[in-house]
């Protein structure tokens, strides 16, 4: 599998943009995290590492990463967006425990197929989707 950095650089090339040192720092930080991450988390981790990058650049670069297809936004019921790697991960959706906050990933081919046929019936061209199921996880239900 291609490395993230190559994909990102190729994407940037197509937009006449370049892989600056700030963008590389952010890319590395994002791919050093497993699981769901937040913009501010990237900003603070880099700051702690004395690899300062401005908050604006973090947001700007996360946008580029999303557009390049390496990363996607996920909505987990909180008041800010989370991000997760798509590169190297198969598509999945989320069960979110509203008590302990745990996020459980699942994927179901049959659901995906049915969603695709809903779109087909409506003449809708799907680009992406997110499914969130909120409730209590095994450990939290009474």
């Amino acid at each position: 599998m291609k490395k993230e950095i190559e994909i990102f650089e190729r994407y940037l090339k197509t937009k006449n943009l370049s892989l600056t040192k700030e963008r590389k720092l952010i890319l590395d930080e994002v791919f050093s995290i497993d699981g769901h991450l937040e913009a501010d988390e990237i900003f603070l981790r880099l700051k702690k590492d004395k690899k300062d990058v401005s908050r604006a650049t973090v947001y700007r670069t996360l946008g580029l990463l999303v557009n390049s297809g390496l990363v996607r936004k996920v909505y987990l019921g909180e008041d800010h967006i989370h991000y997760e790697h798509t590169h190297g991960h198969t598509h999945h959706d989320h069960l979110v425990c509203i008590k302990c906050g745990k996020v459980i990933e699942f994927s179901d081919k049959k659901i995906e197929k049915l969603q695709a046929s809903v779109c087909r019936e409506r003449g809708f061209q799907e680009l992406s989707h997110t499914v969130q199921i909120f409730g209590y996880c095994k450990d939290c239900k009474e």
Copy 2:
């Protein structure tokens, strides 16, 4: 079918709260709108009608309406929450056109069943879910 106001009042009773004139104004305004609505829309409509209610009370009351089960929050990919009636409407999910903003509702029993079985397999107790499919509607796809 029971009227919204009765359900709301009963809910409030169980919480030792009362149906004040502000809460009634907001309830009426919310149920006068068909489709997806925003908190600020309620605030501004009431203001225009000279039925002033503070923004804080609008948010507080929308929270109560959600807890009472009359209304639910929906995430449509924008930077603020939308609300929609649940009372008197069957459950559905959304296709969101990222070009013209159109929101198309759909419901699919088979998808819902499969989601339920995903939860069952994981010992997850579902309370609610939302599905959003983003893409181009019939009129917007190239």
